[in-house]
Amino acid sequence: MGPFVPDLISDQLNLVVALLLGIGFGFVLEQAGFSSSRRLAGVFYGYDFTVLRVFFTAAVTAMSGVLLLGYFGLLDTEAIYVNPTWLVPAIVGGAIMGVGFILGGYCPGTSVCAAAIGKVDGMFFVGGGILGVFAFGEFYPLYHNFYESTSLGPIKVFDSLGISQGLFAFLLIAIAVGAFAVTSMIEKRVDKTSAPALAFKSYKHITAGSLVLALGILFIFLPDRKTHLIDKVSNANYVATHSTKGMEIDELAFRIVDAEPNIRIIDIRTPEAFAKLALPGSVNIQLRDFFSKDWIIPFSQRHVKKVIVGDSESQERIAYLLLQELGYENLAILQGGFDGFNKSILDGSAFVPTGSRWDGDVKQFREQARTDILKKIEANKNKGIKVLKVEKKIQGGC
C-alpha cells in the first residue's frame, strides 16, 4: 500500500527516486513541446492550446489514478501530501505568476526543460527566477504577515464547494473535455492552415473524450472506499448475518491483571470519553482510522487477540466486522461494552449475587481486579496517554 515513503523508502533513497521521477518529468515535458516558449505563450493568444491540453489531461490522469488507487485500497489517501491553502496569498501569487507567464513565456519547470536543450531564453528565465526568490527573501519582513494570512490548512476543493468528491471529479473531467473541444475550434479559426488541432482526427478524439467522460460518470457513483465499507458493515442486514466473537468482562479483567502480552484493546469511543477513563494499554481509534496503514503491522499479528471496546455492543460489532472486512483476524468484542466493564469491575456497582457457590470468588476476584486495574490506569495517567500512532508527515510542496 502506497505511499512507500517513509516506511519502505528511506529519506536517502527517496532522493534517488526524486532524480528518476524528475528524469521522467523532464522527458515528457520536452516531448509535449513545453520547451518552446512560443508554444507555451500560444495558449493565451489562441494559436496553440497545447498547454491547456497537457495541463488538464495530466491533472485528470493523476487525479483519476489517485481516486482509483484509493478506492481499491492500494494508496493511503490520508497519508499523501495535500497542498495547504493560504487563500489570498495563493490568489496574489498566482496573479503575479500569470503576468510572469505572459512576459517570460515559461513557468519554472518548463524553463528548466528549455534550458536543458539549449534555449537561451529559458536560461534567462531560470536566472530571473533565482533573482526573484532572492528579492522575495530579502524583503520578506515587509509582507511576512500577508504571507501567513488566510491560512485554511490542507482543505480539499470538493469540500470547499460543498459537493462530493466523485461529483467534483466528474465536473472537472467534463470541463476538461469541453475545453478541449472548444479550444480546438478556436485554434482552427485563428490559424486555418497549420493549427495544431488540425493534426487530430475527430473520430479518435470523440472516442477518447467519450471514454474519459464515462470514467467521470463512474466517479460519481464510486463512493470512496472508507464510506463504502463502513456503510456496508453498518447495514442491519449485514450485521444480522455475520456473527462476532465476544469476550466476557471477567476474562478481559483477568487478562489485564495478568498483563497478558497477546492482547490488544482497541477503544472506539470518542477521544473525549477515552481521555476521561480508559483501560490500561488500550488505544483509541475511530472507525475511519482503521484504514490507516499504521495498523497493518500491529493488527496483523494473528496470535494477538484484538478486543474491541465501545459504548455499546452494537457499535463494537460494526468495528469488529469492519476489521474483519479489512482482513484482520482473532477479534473479539467486549460483552457489555465499556459501561458494563466499568460497572462490573471499576466501580463494582453491578455485582448481583446469582446465588451460586462461586459468588464469593467472583466478588473477591473483581475487587482484586478493581484495585489492580485502577492502579494501572493511574500509572498510565502519570506516564501520559500513550498514543501508538506515530505521526508521519510527508513533506511536500515547493
Binding site: 503575479i96 503576468v99 505572459i102 534555449k119 526568490v133 532572492f134 527573501g137 476543493v157
Partner: protein, 170 residues
Amino acid sequence: MKTKYMNPYLAAFFLGLVLLATIFITGRGLGASGAIKSIVVATVDGVAPTHAESSSFYGTYVGPGKDNPLKSWLVFEVIGVVIGGFISGLVSDRLKIVTESGPKVSRNVRWLFAAIGGALFGIGAQFARGCTSGAALSGMAVLSTAGFITMIAIFGTGYAVAYFGRKLWL
C-alpha cells in the same frame, strides 16, 4: 529535420502517470520552484551565513542541525528534469543553442523579458507556495483547494494581461 512533438494528449497522459507514480511512491507531488528556492537559500547561506540564519525567511531552512538546503527532494527532481529534458531533446534532435521569441522581438528584449518573467514567477511562487507544477498541477491531482485557486489565478491573470503582452508573441 526535427522530429515532431508527441501528441499532446498522449504526452500529458504520460505526464499524469509520472505525477501519479510520484504521489504513489513518495506521497508528494512534483515541483520546480522549490529547487530554485533551495539554490537561493544555499547561496545566501554560503555567502552570508549570519544574515541567512537571522532572516525569518532563510532561517527556516538553514542553521545548526539542518541539512544542506541543496539536499532536498526537489533539487534532485529538478536535476532529473534537466537530464530528462536533455535526453528528450537528444532523441528528438532538438538540442540547439537558440533564443526563441515572437516574430517582432529582438534577442536582447526577449532575454530581458524572460528574466523579468522568471523573477515574477520566483516571487509569485513563494506567495502561492509553489508554481505551475508544485502548486497548480500537483495540487489539482490531490484535489487541494489551493491547487485549483492557484491554477485559476495563473491562467486567469494570463488571459487578463495577454493583450498588453501581445507584441512579445504575435
